[in-house]
């Protein structure tokens, strides 16, 4: 069996020096006091999260972004990504794939133990994969990412062999995600209830205590010496610990940061980013999430958007550029791709999205929507041109909801009756499951372009038992299906890139989606906090190298 080495181990020391100053995506908001002086050991960082408090700290269970945010502090993955999107070693030092792409060998570091003393070995990896695939774990994100993994074989103490049912070009990218991080088998064995309260990993911090609705206390792992290959320094973290607080109200969160009650906040709102930039007293980290961009999917599965002319008319009519500028205070850049700008394979085509009201009107006339009522709403055969747009109040920030209102206003000029329906999460999913929507915005975070297969492959129209389906545009195109399937198993990077570009051309050219901007992921922190960076994987911040300056 010949195997091709995909990636090499990197000299850790060299990389540390290189990335110490280049903090991924970190843009000082102003002339902030530059990171000066040597790292300081000690101190407890207070992190304020605006995301919902997880019901379980183990990201294997369920698997959402809030879990990823905190899990990144105490769990580590087999591999990571560097700033350029290349896969780099983490707990696994090297990996090889068989030519048929069905067998992968991961060589693990032999000097790592979980914080409960359990050694990290191939058996542990096997237990983790089995844990993720066990229905009792109720894993969703991690489970999907390992969809093609059949089993894990313990080759030796340090070599774990993954057996796949089909080639998976996205496997490594999937394994970088916190939802597929490696936990202590002994920890998992305690059962879900206990493991949810304090999962045990190999990361720089250890879960000490979780006071529901208030905070999670993390303390330093003094024995820590791992980290992804691009980590800034060796050894344990500088911080004594982290107090991870949940402050759901964005205004309070920002006020708490201003008052010095907390050191860093996530989900910073556009107006506060603007304010912070002007005042120059806070530092911003802009780390767009990977996977899909924020876009409005047009339901092509039913009238009126089953007609490409109507879809194009909507996109031509909806004027979003000025709105994005005003509402996001210049913190969000208009996107013309369905993929996040951090995805190297993202394909963008601005020409398709130029606003043109006359064109929109012409297209609608051509499509037969010629009658207009007193309000200017078009109709065809007595059926009004209605666009039901369920909006999740949990997922869309106020600025985004305002943007939708502006789309509603501009689309109306072409004769669309956009009905915005703000709904809570349950109601929102309910509207999607019953297909009571013509347009919807649903962010999706995943590492790598394989997210396109999840979002636009016709298989994803078939709902899961829960009613969930990811292909909200209901895009059913055999040609696209074939491209996405091929890309997912194509191991040659260039060929893969070409396939994905073709796929994206089909999606954009068919006017199935109106891209808006990247999934916004802004952090603000006090200048005291230094050495923090967002992981190039799913853009969660890591505090392994962070310190609090005096």
């Amino acid at each position: 069996m010949t195997s091709r080495r995909i990636i090499r181990t990197l000299p850790l020391a060299a990389l540390a020096a290189a990335s110490a100053l280049v903090l991924a995506g970190c843009t000082p908001a102003a002339e902030s006091p530059e990171a000066s002086g040597d790292p300081v050991t000690g101190g407890t960082l207070v992190y304020a999260s605006g995301d919902g408090e997880p019901s379980c700290l183990d990201p294997h269970v369920g698997g959402n972004y809030p879990q990823a945010l905190i899990a990144g502090q105490f769990l580590e993955s087999l591999v990571s990504l560097d700033d350029s999107g290349e896969v780099i070693p983490w707990l696994a030092t090297e990996w090889t794939a068989s030519d048929d792409g069905l067998t992968w060998d991961f060589t693990l570091r032999d000097d790592v133990s979980f914080t409960d003393g359990t050694p990290l070995n191939a058996e542990a990896v096997k237990v983790n994969v089995e844990h993720l695939k066990d229905p009792d774990t109720q894993s969703s994100t991690g489970y999907l990412a390992l969809g093609k993994v059949d089993s894990v074989e313990v080759v030796s103490d340090t070599v774990a062999r993954f057996h796949l049912s089909a080639p998976d070009s996205a496997l490594l990218e999937s394994l970088t995600q916190p939802w597929n991080a490696i936990e202590s088998p002994a920890g998992i064995a305690r059962g879900m209830e206990e493991n949810c309260l304090a999962p045990i990993g190999t990361g720089p911090f250890i879960v000490d205590e979780w006071v529901p609705q208030d905070h999670v206390s993390l303390v330093r792992n003094d024995d820590y010496d791992t980290g992804p290959a691009d980590r800034a320094h060796d050894g344990a973290a500088y911080l004594d610990g982290i107090e991870w607080r949940f402050i759901p109200d964005s205004a309070s969160r920002y006020a708490a940061l201003q008052a010095g009650e907390v050191d860093i906040i996530d989900n910073a709102q556009p107006d506060t980013l603007d304010q912070a930039a002007k005042s120059g007293t806070l530092v911003e980290i802009d780390a767009p999430r990977p996977g899909a961009s924020n876009r409005i999917e047009l339901n092509s599965g039913q009238a009126p958007f089953d007609d490409v002319r109507v879809r194009e008319a909507f996109i031509r009519a909806a004027d979003v550029n000025d709105g994005i500028d005003a509402l996001f205070f210049g913190t969000a850049e208009r996107s013309f791709s369905v993929l996040s700008s951090v995805e190297p394979l993202a394909y963008s085509d601005e020409t398709l999205f130029a606003t043109d009201l006359d064109e929109a009107n012409a297209l609608l006339d051509e499509a037969g929507w010629t009658e207009r009522d007193a309000d200017g709403i078009r109709s065809k055969d007595g059926v009004p041109l209605t666009v039901r747009f369920p909006v999740s109040t949990n997922q869309s920030i106020p600025a985004e909801q305002s943007l939708f209102e502006q789309i509603q206003a501009t689309a109306k000029e072409a004769g669309f009756d956009v009905q915005l329906e703000p709904l809570d999460l349950s109601g929102w999913y309910g509207a999607l499951f019953t297909h009571e929507y013509e347009a919807v915005s649903a962010p999706y975070t995943k590492v790598g372009p394989d997210v396109l297969r999840i979002l636009y492959h016709s298989d994803s129209i078939t709902p899961a038992p829960s009613g969930y389906f990811a292909n909200l545009a209901q895009l059913d195109d055999p040609e696209l299906d074939a491209l996405l399937t091929e890309a997912a198993s194509e191991s040659d990077p260039d060929a893969r890139a070409a396939l994905y570009e073709q796929a994206q051309q089909i999606i954009l050219g068919g006017f199935y989606a109106l891209p808006l901007y990247d999934q916004q992921n802004h952090f603000l922190h006090s200048p005291k906090l230094q050495g923090v960076r967002a992981m190039p994987t799913v853009s969660t911040p890591t505090f392994a190298d962070a310190w609090l300056a005096d």
Partner: protein, 297 residues
């Protein structure tokens, strides 16, 4: 009474669209498999008829067991026990502060002239009309962001309680002050006020020793309602000030369709309400023996 509350809540929550099995498996949007859903339904007895589930719930409640949270998988009793103190502290402190503010305002406004009274009435009405969420934001903007006196979110220090308590107390004080002012003015027109003045009592003495008692009476009676009002307000206040508590627990549980937690919280709130009602009843009887007399008549 608690039984009725539990029953009502049980059926109300079961009317809510949404599959509890789904809620158990990570909430809406999770991509749980059919097997997992079936498994959970069997485990939690969700496949049994509603009546059976209802009886099972009553059985558990009767033995003091509130069940396990669907979302957190921990016993509801533990969950609530951990949150109750925070909310009660907040609500009771707010009640006390509201009382103090209301008494102060009522004493001042009844001794002030026409213009003073009009101003007081304006203050009261405005205070009573302030939505909690707005007041909280303004307080944070003024006292934390601009002045930097107080922390904008709850912390371990007492200073962290000031703004949440004020947010809850100010609108309530508006209500109470209106009520107390009216009662005081009423009391000041009663013949016993003339009697007391004729004994040489000072105007301040009349207000403190006579009118205040009369004003306090209806306000005491209102305190049971006030606790319910404050706990309702706590949903918003705890969210804004990031305080742990029942309000946030309830909001979250409702969003997640976490039936046992919703029932548990409602029961506890009802219990607090009942306790408060009994207490206010005792207090008002102590203040006013006429109540007991009237009941006998």
């Amino acid at each position: 009474m608690l039984w009725a509350v539990a029953t009502l809540t049980f059926f109300a929550v079961h009317l809510v669209p949404g599959d509890p099995a789904q809620a158990i498996l990570g909430g809406p949007g999770s991509q749980a498999s059919q097997e997992a859903l079936d498994q959970v339904r069997a485990d939690y007895g969700l496949d049994r008829p509603l009546a059976v589930q209802y009886l099972a719930m009553l059985g558990r409640l009767a033995s003091g067991d509130l069940g396990d949270s669907y979302a957190l998988k921990t016993p509801v009793a533990d969950l609530i026990a951990g949150q109750l103190l925070g909310t009660l502290t907040l609500a009771l402190l707010a009640l006390v502060v509201a009382w103090v503010l209301a008494i102060g305002l009522a004493l001042w406004s009844t001794s002030a002239g026409r213009i003073g009274r009009a101003i007081a009435a304006g203050i009261e009405l405005t205070a009573a009309a302030l939505p909690h969420f707005w007041l909280a934001t303004v307080l944070i903007a003024v006292f934390s962001t601009s002045l930097g006196w107080l922390p904008p979110v709850a912390n371990d220090q007492p200073s962290g309680l000031v703004l949440p308590v004020l947010t809850l107390a100010v609108p309530l004080a508006g209500f109470l002050a209106q009520l107390m002012r009216e009662q005081m003015l009423d009391a000041l027109e009663q013949p016993f006020t003339t009697s007391a003045l004729a004994r040489g009592e000072t105007a301040a003495g009349i207000r403190l020793r006579h009118a205040l008692r009369h004003a306090a009476l209806p306000a005491v009676n209102l305190s049971g309602w006030a606790i319910g009002y404050l706990i309702s307000g706590a949903v918003v206040v705890e969210t804004i000030f990031a305080r742990p508590g029942l309000g946030r627990t309830l909001l979250r549980a409702t969003e997640l369709r976490d039936v046992p937690v919703v029932i548990g919280v409602v029961l506890v709130v009802a219990l607090v309400y009942v306790a408060m009602t009994v207490l206010t009843d005792l207090v008002s009887r102590a203040i006013d023996p006429r109540i007991a007399l009237e009941e006998r008549a």
